[in-house]
Symmetry: C2
DNA sequence: ACGATATACATCGTAATACGAGGTATTATA
DNA sequence: TATAATACCTCGTATTACGATGTATATCGT
């Protein structure tokens, strides 16, 4: 898929993934796989960014001798998710305009 | 609005704007204003990009002593619009996942 | 007559970000 | 005993939306 279309979407996507339960990198990737496959380099960049922006907090924990970093969403993070919902209605309106143009073709029978 | 969310959307948006009739820069901006306000610098970058990619052709014409460059969509351009429609259903699925998480809050009555 | 606004094009630099390539280390599985 | 899975990380690059800025003509109000 065109990576550009996902711009700005993934931050909120990661926030949504930790919305109801704290989670860690590897788990987030698995949870999001049905929706979008994001690479580790992409995810860790996003997690760093979200942490810097105060959207989530981090806690290190040991699990079977391996390090795990659990991420928890903050109030600012949930606010951001709400903002996303509003912005998305604007984005949808743009996309619907584009798709409407495609459908005009279909109705007119143009291949 | 977050500029990142518009990434990749604007190319298709401009193609949609010239889908049914040839148009020129200034007119495209006016036509798209109800959906999204894009600056001239943004538009001309996009038009150049789409031309290089063979998505549209350009024709110069004089109008009241002023230069106008009319843009016409190509077959590759209409193909691109169809591709967009397919990609958008994937993007929508991601957005719906995010929004679903927001709505869980609302149902639970969490502020 | 003259300034403001609209029309119409263009370039340059910057910030943001998705991702590939590569790295480290442990545990489980075939 | 390899191979995969788990689990973290950094660096560089390509893409692109946009602000700032520039050029030039037409139109409109006062």
């Amino acid at each position: 898929m065109d990576a550009q279309l996902k711009r700005g979407l993934l931050d909120s996507c990661v926030l949504a993934a930790i919305r109801n339960k704290d989670s860690y990198g590897y788990q987030i990737i698995k949870d999001l796989k049905p929706y979008t496959e994001l690479s580790e380099s992409t995810l860790y960049t996003i997690l760093k960014r979200l942490e810097s922006a105060g959207m989530l907090t981090v806690r290190s924990a040991e699990h079977n001798g391996r390090l795990r970093k659990y991420y928890r969403i903050t109030g600012a993070g949930t606010d951001r998710l709400r903002e996303f919902r509003e912005e998305w209605s604007e984005i949808s309106a743009i996309a619907e305009f584009i798709i409407r143009e495609c459908e005009n073709d279909d109705k007119a029978g143009i291949s």
